[in-house]
Amino acid sequence: MSATGIAVAMLQVVLTIAAAPLLVGMMRLVRARLEGRVGAPIRQPWRDLRKLLRKERMVSANTGWVFSIAPLVLLASAALVAGIVPFLSTRSALDQVGDLFAVVYLLLLGTVFLSLAGLDAGTAFGGMGASREMTIAAIAEPTVLVAIFALSVSTGSSNLGAIVAATLAHPSTAASPESLLAFAALAVVTIAETGRIPVDNPATHLELTMIHEAMILEYSGPDLAMVELAAHLRLVVFLGLLANLFVPWGIATTVQPLHLAAAAAAVAIKLVALAATIAAIEVFIAKVRLFRVPELLAASFVLAFLAVTASFFLA
């Protein structure tokens, strides 16, 4: 583990945290423009977070230590993942610390803590959100791991740096059926895990339809700021994984500042394009009923599964 590697990892974490609320602001803006509105400025999520940090923190009598540490664990796991995922360079020091499996399970760690916090609130809606979140997390898991399986068959490793490097070395694999199928599968999971339409509606006010929002009804002030920031970060991490695993061009394979700056620009363009696409699609579709979500995830599982069979047999 070299000092430059650690520096790259820290840089990634800081930049991702800085960019995540902006990306969410951009998605809200795209949505607003398609709805014929002006919309809030892109920096609005940062303003909201700054304000939340200056508000009171309220802790109800029912809750215990789980409620208090859950936002920290959620945010820390998302931030750590932001250091592992190759956003800027394949030379991040954290690349050897954890591979794609570690990334998936770290994100699950955050989900688990948030669900526990939802239960700890002791309200009906907190438990409801927790139960739904774990349901979706559990049935999304096979899709994610099987998609990783497909990726690591064609590249020979589950390490993120290695996958990216392999795609860079053989550009044609990016358009092979297995990586297209795996991309589609992971895209569906990304939408499910980050609570976007059609699985969950991030802007809903009706408790009965909530998933993510129901768990955090009890959080306020700085705790809420951490939960929100973590949700933004997770969105960026998932989108960044999609972008850089399948279309890695532009990423730096060195640690020279110039290359890193170019890589930052490249990944920013990819993220904006992906996020804008998702936001635009959301305008066109409605949220599905909760009990139809398993069908959606089953379909994504089938895509991942086909990706594995394709990589086994067509290769």
């Binding site: 044609s172 358009a175 092979s176 059926p177 297209l180 199928l181 398993p294 069908e295 089953a298 379909a299 599982f301 089938v302 895509l303 599964f305 086909l306 069979t309 394709a310 086994f312 047999f313 067509l314």
Partner: protein, 219 residues
């Protein structure tokens, strides 16, 4: 067209044929299923087109254009008309639920791969390596026929089955003679007409084509 590009295009087109058959199991609206089958027909034509271009067989290219017109436009168009003509509910009614059907189809795909392993081992051309896809599409077409209740969907299943057979032929023999394809196409067309006439008769007589109700006809 160089080799890599050929392999990629072939795999993507053949993969699309398989993915559309999964989509046909997944979708609920009859109209959407019919459209997906149209896409499948176009993808199938693309397979033949790519092979024809790569191997410089003008006959195959011609066949591919015909296949595209027939299976991508004409037959699905007929089905769409049949769907729109029926005043019954335009939703798929299935004997098994969607996730189960999808998992079953994944299982069938694995079986197709396992069953064709020996054939694939004989030759290593990209066409032959994609052969299991065709077999899988055939099996999924049969699954569709077996598990769905409406006669219209059975017709779509037959068409998918036939698409699978055509895919196997294109991949396995590197080009079907024009005459054979013409013969098969006319057979399918004929079958479609007969089925359509039958379903409309049934509908006129009994007001629906739910197969479970067709059991009443046996005496």
């Amino acid at each position: 067209m160089n080799d890599t590009a050929f392999v990629q295009l072939l795999d993507i087109a053949a993969g699309l044929v398989l993915v559309t058959s999964f989509a046909a199991l997944w979708l609920r609206r009859l109209v959407a299923v019919a459209r997906v089958i149209a896409v499948q027909g176009v993808a199938l034509a693309a397979v033949a087109f790519v092979i024809g271009l790569y191997e410089h067989e003008n006959e195959l290219v011609a066949v591919s254009l015909m296949v595209g017109a027939l299976r991508g436009v004409v037959l699905p168009g007929l089905i769409l008309r049949a769907v729109r003509a029926g005043d019954e509910r335009r939703e798929v009614e299935s004997l098994i639920n969607v996730p189960a059907a999808l998992l079953a189809a994944s299982g069938l795909t694995l079986i197709a791969y396992a069953a064709t392993r020996d054939v694939v081992a004989l030759s290593s051309t990209p066409q032959v390596r994609a052969l299991p896809l065709g077999v899988a599409v055939m099996l999924i077409g049969m699954l569709l026929i077996v598990t769905r209740r409406k006669a219209v969907l059975q017709i779509m299943g037959v068409l998918m089955l036939d698409n699978g057979i055509a895919l196997v032929m294109f991949l396995g023999t590197s080009g079907v003679p024009l005459a054979v394809e013409l013969g098969i196409a006319s057979d399918v067309l004929l079958a479609m007409f007969i089925l359509q006439v039958l379903t409309s008769r049934i509908r006129n007589k009994f007001g629906g084509t739910d197969l479970d109700q067709l059991r009443e006809l046996r005496d």
